[in-house]
């Protein structure tokens, strides 16, 4: 397979200090293994993009990878707050974090515009909220046909998008299914795309409701079994909900966080 690499090589080749990087996956298929490799390679000054910034971004922010976060929600899904993100926002630890904040619907429209190579997306929502005062990428525009005022959102075009998928074939065509989130749009909006997969198969059998990302839009496919743990992969493994609960306590305390990252991320080696 032409595009197959190891995770270490893929991150080294495509992720550079200062890049804008979207790791996508809406609580399902979260590319944890790729995020951990970015932490191990000590990338700095990244602009991290993600609709539901959750534990993987808490870890990357806490380890100092990010200069800026572009997001529409930042929490531990179903459980509460992200304490490393909070520490960065409230106390500038380990470094100040610039934020560019959206709603889910506006950030989704920004990815759609990025995938379509449009300068902006439009939607009907929420003109009078405080978010519009703080996010210059949100504005409004008059419809040329009806004069109706609609919300405009600047397109998002990440330098690199990373997603995790169920499987790829030997050509590097990628297949994912279940909750497919914003992955297709995030992939098509990006300049480079890394996909980690559970499995490499000879031939992709069609799956109802599934999507296929053709090999020619993907820069690198990495065979990474378990690469979404502790999140889940539909058809492969369940979510480690107990870990999501434990994370709350780990992330509350700086020293405990650093120790946990040392033992569970820094001292492990990518395939």
């Amino acid at each position: 397979m032409g595009k197959a690499t190891g995770l270490r090589d893929a991150i080294t080749e495509f992720i550079h200090d200062g890049d804008s990087v979207a790791l996508e996956g809406f609580s399902h298929l979260v590319p944890f293994a790729a995020g951990h490799e970015i932490i191990r390679q000590q990338r700095r000054d990244l602009t991290l993009i993600r609709m539901s910034a959750d534990i993987i971004y808490d870890q990357m922010i806490g380890m100092g990878c990010a200069r800026k976060l572009i997001f529409s929600w930042a929490g531990n899904p179903g459980l509460g707050l992200l304490h490393r993100f909070r520490d960065a926002e409230e106390n500038d630890w380990p470094r100040p974090l610039e934020i560019e904040e959206y709603t889910h619907a506006t950030l989704a429209a920004a990815f759609v515009a990025g995938a379509a190579r449009l300068p902006f997306g439009t939607l009907r929502c929420c003109p009078q909220t405080d978010l519009l005062k703080h996010t210059p990428a949100l504005s409004s525009i008059k419809c040329p046909f009806t004069n109706e005022e609609v919300t405009a959102v600047r397109a998002i075009k990440p330098d690199v998008t990373i997603v995790h998928a169920q499987r790829a074939d030997e050509e590097g065509n990628v297949q994912l299914w279940g909750i497919v989130g914003i992955q297709k749009e995030a992939v098509l909006a990006a300049k480079n795309v890394i996909v980690t997969v559970e499995e490499i198969v000879n031939r992709l059998e069609p799956v109802p409701g599934g999507i296929v990302i053709p090999s020619w839009v993907v820069s690198s496919v990495v065979h990474t079994p378990g690469g979404a743990r502790p999140s889940y992969v539909h058809g492969y493994y369940g979510r480690d909900s107990a870990f999501y609960r434990e994370w709350d306590a780990i992330a509350r305390d700086r020293d405990r966080f650093i120790q946990w990252m040392g033992e569970n991320v820094l001292e492990t080696v990518a395939a």
Binding site: F26, S27, R86, E101, A109, C125, Q128, I179, K184
Partner: protein
């Protein structure tokens, strides 16, 4: 069914009052936490034909255990269809298909404006919260809104620290742990329309950060029935064991 303890907590009363807001056959946009629990209770009791829609793209999911996140495997496996995130917001929510949207928040004001972004100043927050998510779009596009919140002076404020979600133009009902408020059809102001058994008006006024108006025909909401409590407690017990059980799955 064995006899159950009919003494109930204020949280159980609130969840059941919220569950009763799910009318059968309604198409409901729900988040995690109390709205999700209330939806599961309603589906097992008086509203077997509700359609539950989740912002993760799962439509018509039929969860038998309370999901921990809005994108849980349980929701995906029991969904009638799954769509992408741009589609769930653009076609289904903005397209006008949602009857009732359920929301939570950290702060609410007299007109049901909501804050789920920060406590304190945006640029140097005292407490940074998760942010907007789907809430502003839900409030702007669902035909009716139900907000579920515990009542306290920290939450029911005269002015929200950050306007995350503008008041809906549609009827908005706020279910709290003390009673139920609803927006006035003309002024949009929240009026107390019901209270729970054993709750006095003073308690409700003291936990509201503005001079609360009380409806002339204030009603008392019936206490949870044995059957409601039994369904709710069974659901909550599965939610609590779910985390441990899925550890090694």
């Amino acid at each position: 069914m064995s006899a159950i303890d009919t003494k109930y907590t204020s949280e159980e009363m609130m969840t059941i009052a919220a569950a009763r807001k799910f009318t059968d056959r309604a198409i409901c946009f729900v988040g995690v936490g109390l709205p999700s629990v209330a939806a599961c209770v309603a589906r097992q009791l008086h509203a077997p034909k509700i359609t539950l829609v989740y912002e993760s793209g799962a439509i018509d999911s039929k969860p038998t255990v309370v999901p921990l996140s809005i994108a849980d495997l349980e929701l995906a496996e029991t969904a009638g269809l799954i769509v992408g995130v741009p589609e769930i917001f653009a076609y289904w929510l903005q397209g006008g298909w949602i009857d009732i949207g359920f929301l939570g928040a950290a702060q609410i004001d007299q007109f049901a404006n909501l804050n789920s972004t920060v406590i304190g100043d945006y640029n140097s927050p005292k407490l940074r919260l998760p942010g907007a998510g789907g809430a502003p779009h839900i409030a702007a596009n669902a035909r009716e809104i139900v907000v579920i919140l515990r009542q306290s002076l920290k939450v029911f404020v005269s002015r929200v620290d950050f306007l995350t979600t503008s008041r809906s133009k549609q009827k908005t009902t706020v279910v709290t742990d003390l009673g139920v408020l609803q927006t006035h059809p003309e002024t949009g102001e929240l009026i107390l329309i019901s209270r729970y058994p054993g709750v006095n008006l003073e308690q409700i006024r003291e936990t509201t950060g503005w001079p609360l108006k009380i409806a002339d025909n204030l009603s008392e909401i019936p206490a949870p029935t044995e059957r409601e409590l039994s369904v709710l407690r069974t659901l909550n017990s599965t939610a609590e064991t779910q985390g441990q059980n899925s550890r090694r799955s």
